[in-house]
């Protein structure tokens, strides 16, 4: 039975970059997986010294299904004027790929790509070729499935709440009947008894 919380398959999957207006200080580039490595190497050579983050997007109904987004920052290497200091350049590189396709790792170009790539692998199941240590980073190591995929059930594979154990199974030293409700009354009685005898 599919989870009632599975997002509707007929939902519109609009690529926001297609409708978004240009951003003043950011360049948005879309490249094919085969060109990704070369393009990013070129951008780094041109001064995009920081890889701020890598994001993943699942559009589910779109082809290609996934986008991997590289956020680059180009800082001015030399202070030419106040203006150039105030306008570092941001570059956003989008790369679409389908389930089963892989991307080359960027962790040798920017060490900051290491953990974001692991995160995308962990949550979207996108593999990065050549990554030195492609393990899950957030989910437990034995987790199955990729939770941020749109077709992943929100409650996980189990689909139902975990059943509660019986309180009678408690294995503590002072096992006994639950004291609920009787506790306060019994305590008051005990106190009254002690006080009465002391007087």
């Amino acid at each position: 039975m599919p989870s009632p919380q599975t997002p509707p398959r007929g939902g519109s999957a609009v690529d926001p970059t297609a409708v978004r207006p240009d951003i003043d200080d950011a360049v948005i580039i879309r490249v094919e997986p085969a060109q990704l490595r070369g393009r990013l190497e070129q951008l780094k050579a041109e001064g995009a010294s920081m890889l701020l983050d890598i994001g993943g997007v699942d559009y589910l109904e779109r082809t290609p299904r996934f986008d991997v987004v590289y956020h680059l920052l180009k800082l001015p290497t030399r202070v030419a004027s106040v203006d150039s200091v105030a306008t570092p350049m941001r570059i956003r590189v989008l790369c679409g790929l389908d389930d089963g396709q892989t991307l080359p790792t960027m962790s040798d170009l920017w060490p900051s790509a290491d953990w974001p790539e692991r995160e995308i692998y962990d949550l979207f199941g996108i593999t990065f070729d050549g990554h030195p240590d492609l393990r899950r980073i957030q989910m437990p190591v034995d987790w199955e499935g990729y939770p941020l995929r749109k077709d992943y059930p929100l409650r996980g594979p189990a689909l139902e709440r975990t059943p509660r154990p019986d309180f009678a199974l408690k294995s503590n030293l002072l096992a006994g009947t639950p004291a609920s409700g009787k506790t306060a009354a019994a305590l008051a009685k005990q106190i009254a008894k002690i006080r009465g005898q002391a007087e």
Partner: protein
């Protein structure tokens, strides 16, 4: 417990004395999981002052702790860690499930969060709230103390 008439002696069962001692120094484990931990920290501060109950000594080692306060949502990845800490605590030991998330998963009805810490460790007192007030937690410690004095266990909802 009774006073022997005409003397200065008290007569009591060893069990009662031991329970009185246990109940008067319930040492919690230093373990904050989420925002409930902020309220848990404030019970140690002067305004609420859990020292009045003898529980001000938060132990950083489970070997020295009597009480586990599960103060926040338990991620699936944290579950085995909680279980391990509980197992490392010496008997007798008690567990307070603090807040909606620890008790039932709360608003996090999803794959990432354990739907109630009682699926992992036995819980003695549940404190409702999101987060519970420090008074609520103090009351839960009170209930734990009452349980210890009585020798009963289990499944109490700390309801005012």
């Amino acid at each position: 417990m009774e006073v022997v008439p005409g003397t200065q002696f008290l007569l009591a069962r060893v069990d009662d004395v031991a329970r009185w001692a246990q109940a008067s120094s319930v040492w919690p484990l230093t373990m904050g999981l989420a925002c409930c931990a902020i309220e848990m920290m404030s019970v140690t501060a002067p305004e609420y002052d859990i020292a009045r109950l003898g529980s001000e000594v938060f132990r950083s080692s489970p070997r020295q702790a009597d009480l586990m306060i599960v103060s926040g949502r338990v991620a699936q990845k944290m579950g085995p860690v909680i279980k391990r800490l509980y197992d490392q605590m010496a008997d007798p030991k008690w567990v307070i499930s603090m807040g909606a998330c620890a008790s039932s998963g709360g608003v996090f009805d999803n794959y990432a969060v354990v739907q109630g810490v009682d699926t992992i460790v036995p819980v003695d007192v549940y404190v409702p709230g999101c987060p519970p007030t420090p008074d609520g937690l103090l009351y839960a410690v009170n209930l734990i103390q009452q349980q210890i004095r009585q020798g009963g266990r289990g499944g109490i909802l700390a309801r005012a």
